[in-house]
Amino acid sequence: MITNTFYAWAQEKFKISGAILSSKDSKPVPGAAIQILPSHTMPANDNGTFDFYVTKGINVLKISHVGFKVRLQTFNISQDTSIIVFIEEESILTNEVEIKNSNAIRSEDLGINSLNISQVKKLPSFLGEPDILKIIQFMPGVISAGEGSSAFFVRGGNADENLILLDNAPIYDPSHMLGLFSIFNADIVRSAEMHKNGMPSSYGGRISSLLDVKTNDGNMEKYAGNATLGLMAAKLYLNGPIIKNKLSFAASARRSYVDNLIGIAHRLLPAISTQNSLYFYDLNAKLKYNLNQKNTFTFSVYSGADQVVIGENADVKWGNSFASLMWKVDINRKLQMNSGLVASRFGFDLAFVNGNQNFTWTNQVNEYNLRQDYTYNLKSNQAIKFGFISSYRSISPATYKPLTKGSIINSVEIPTNYSTENAVYLSHNLTVKKWQFDYGFRFSMFTTLGNYNDIIYADPQELILPKVAKVNQYSSFEPIKSFTTPEPRINVGYNFSPNTALKASYNRMAQYIQQVISGITPLPVSFWLPSSTYIKPSVGDNFSLGFTHKLPYNIETSFEAFYKNRTNTIDFVDNAVTFLNPDVITQIRSGTSKAYGAEVFISQASEKLNWNISYTWSKAERNIMGINNDKTYFAPFDRRHSIAALATYELNKKWNFGLSWSFATGRPITLPSGTYQFQQYAVNYITERNGYRMPDYHRLDVSANYKPNPKASWKWYSEWNFSIYNVYNRFNAFAIYTQPTFNSNDQNTNSGNNQAVMLYLFTIVPSISYTVKF
């Protein structure tokens, strides 16, 4: 989004145009920020050029960009002027550029937050692993699923409503170890931007948000990297030129070593079996090739997985992989094209052996995308964007088969489904006087394809032995069902002054695939279902209204209110049979959901101390026939109040500190209101879904980072990170369930001794890691 600001003053005005170039190689610096002091700011275009109007007389330009020193340039303007400004690169010892005077979470625009990765690394982290998905949960309007989970919910939307991209590749399961960590290795992550109020017209397919994560490009000049040893994992990051100023690489590897510690633990305590294993790994690599000044190629790959081995009984593996090829072309001074080809995969594989009850269980998602995006800069204050994206998916939800010939296990399969999703879009952004407009239109189409047997049920809501009325067979690529959705997107802003703005937006989003999540947290076995005969596309309308204001001393404030409603929300009936059920459609009901709330965000950035605090009030409800006696109920991630605070403090060149504190009122849960006896069992009697609340959640984490030798002249330096998770040792509920007590004969007899039991995961957890940067 262009944030150019254009003021029509009464004074005489002249045009100043030109380019921002690097003093090192005279190359354009795209996106450099040009500030006409005291306050007007705009970015250079993608080819480093700019043009705007200034008043006659003395004007001071301040030019800044990541990796470059700030440049102040004074001009005395009395006519239209063309200039070239050279800016000097900062000395870079590693590829990591530390951005000071900036918070870990920044508010970029209405409903858009970004992460400052260098600040994120200073914040406390669980077991020494900086995790952008955990920090995202501190953004206003973003709710966590709970302790130890990477799943997040944005403004009342479900976990599967977030489009997560890593170098333009969709990620279907972004977590390791069931959510304790994410797949994002902070060493190679360059940027992470969250669009909470829907997303730009160039993206779609999910209703709630877009999390766009990009990895570092390799340094074109020199080699750099770092190696880290932590409590949980070891990491290595390298980058540098292959051909100077032409071809660079960036690569990272991370592997946990809990499984290696099991061997050591076994020697201390023989009861711990060495046949168990648990680990995860991530491999990232990226090549960037500057064919010439106008053509750039990037090729990014990723492979990561988790593996759990339990003795001789079970071997489970799941993970993501992708390859992403992007081509950026400056066709001319005004027109730019970005093309992309992506292949992405998520797979889950379980092999279980227990005598003759052995089986394999797999699920898989494969997606292939082709996209082209064009940006046409009409003028400095307006641009047109247009393009298309075409996707092909094959989803194998669940295949359950005997592992060996003698197995007594029957095969069960939820058949593979195939689909295409295509979209074209057009948007225009325009700044006129104090107004900013960004409006567009996206038209999406989704088609399910054969090879497939489409089952038509006599009663699709029959839970027990649903009868099949007929089966329509479709051959490969034969269209089965198509859906189309027009998706208007409108964002309007008014700048009362350079420091104060009011903004409003409306976005309509369509989602054609939904994740079948049994509980609140997605598991690797949670599969995706496409829109079909019985599951219609979910369409969401997102409204928001926001107000931003800058105070003295670099304090920024913002207030946003949002309202979101969604059609064809799906949920499961009570005690739904979701695993390995080929008739899982019959366990699903659909209806409507809505969410609304307000967020307040305050931040201050300075040389030493950076902090931000956010408060969110929100409500998320569902109304689905066939669930909760057809009455409205709270969504499982509904949290009335949440507060998040982050702070970093740079004491001196050697020491810096981080702090994070979060609070949220408890999420809804289903608990019994009564009990009864059936045979010898004491059975829970449920009166409503999500009628109770977990206890409130709050937690304080602190960190300290120590550089023994911070001098820039050293070729390498080391850094220690000390973190304490859950400093005041609060027992935050992970789950609450009820249980009767059992008598000495292992029988429960409804004796009136029922209990509510809380399960909590973590107490106080200290950690330490050591990093060498070179």
């Binding site: 489970v316 003759n356 296990i409 598991l523 289903t670 019994p672 009166t687 292992d746």
Partner: protein, 284 residues
């Protein structure tokens, strides 16, 4: 088969801890009629048991209904009026249910009419041909003492040999077919709903060999297994009961709720018409 649930739990319970919440506020609820009824093809006295549900923290014992009128009939014109016995039990005369018949239950209590129906499967479809005993281990000498306490005949002491019991059999009827089993160690019924023993031909097929049955046993125990061929509705009722009982708060499992039953008239429980076969084995 919810194998992934235990794997997930393995990881979280490695760190997880439990705490009983003594002050957790749970609402009161209106008492509901609970129906528990079983008719089999065995020539015996069948039963229906009626009670009320209670508040979750209620210290009262189960309140039984002792003044209801209870009738069982079938689609062939047979009717039996049940007589109240004790502790909520209403008993029939001695007769055997007929496979393939539909059985109806009607209850009148305090101006409330509750009814149910279930079809007794026509065939049994499973032939258990052996029960085998598998030595497991010596009862451990530390911290698991009492874990194997099951039935009041004899405690299991450290050093005792304990055994698992397995059975084998073959599915030989129409598909799909559904089964549940009641297990007894000597005269005591194994009654932890976490391990309801349920199996069907959706997941298993052909000759099933050496299925572990829940429980551990010592020499001189007698194992009794009653295998019921039940309707699909009954099977899913018990499966839902098991799921309800192991519900961990919705982190990984689908939302919890009252099992779908075959009772009309806002009552809980289930009325079941099943075929039954009994097997026993003495451990020597």
């Amino acid at each position: 088969m919810k194998i992934f649930l235990p794997i997930s739990m393995l990881i979280f319970f490695t760190w997880g801890c439990k705490k009983v919440l003594t002050n957790f506020d749970i609402n009161d609820s209106q008492p509901q009629i609970v129906v528990e009824g079983l008719v089999t093809d065995s020539a015996t006295v069948h039963y229906v048991r009626l009670s009320y549900s209670a508040d979750f923290y209620s210290a009262e014992k189960t309140k039984y209904i002792d003044n209801a009128s209870v009738y069982i009939s079938d689609n062939q014109g047979f009717t039996d009026t049940l007589k109240y016995d004790t502790n909520g039990y209403y008993r029939t005369g001695k007769w055997a249910g007929i496979p393939g018949n539909t059985y109806y239950l009607d209850i009148y209590s305090n101006n409330i009419h509750v009814s149910a129906a279930d079809v007794m499967p026509a065939s049994f479809g499973f032939k258990a041909d052996s029960i085998s005993i598998l030595y497991k281990e010596k009862a451990p000498t530390f911290n698991n003492y009492g874990q194997y306490n099951f039935g009041n005949i004899r405690y299991i002491f450290p050093g005792d040999s304990v055994f698992n019991v397995q059975f084998s059999g073959k599915f030989d009827g129409e598909r799909p077919s559904y089964y549940r089993a009641d297990l007894y160690r000597n005269t005591y019924k194994y009654s932890n709903p976490n391990t309801f023993f349920l199996f069907n031909t959706i997941v298993l097929e052909g000759y099933i060999s050496k299925i572990d049955i829940p429980g551990t046993y010592i020499a001189s125990d007698t194992v009794n297994i009653l295998i019921y061929r039940v309707s699909a509705a009954s099977f899913y009722y018990y499966a839902s009961l098991r799921q309800l009982n192991i519900y961990e708060g919705g982190i990984f499992s689908s939302p919890s709720g009252n099992p779908v039953n075959n009772i009309k008239g806002s009552a809980l429980g289930f009325f079941e018409a099943a075929r039954v076969k009994k097997h026993f084995q003495m451990l020597r």
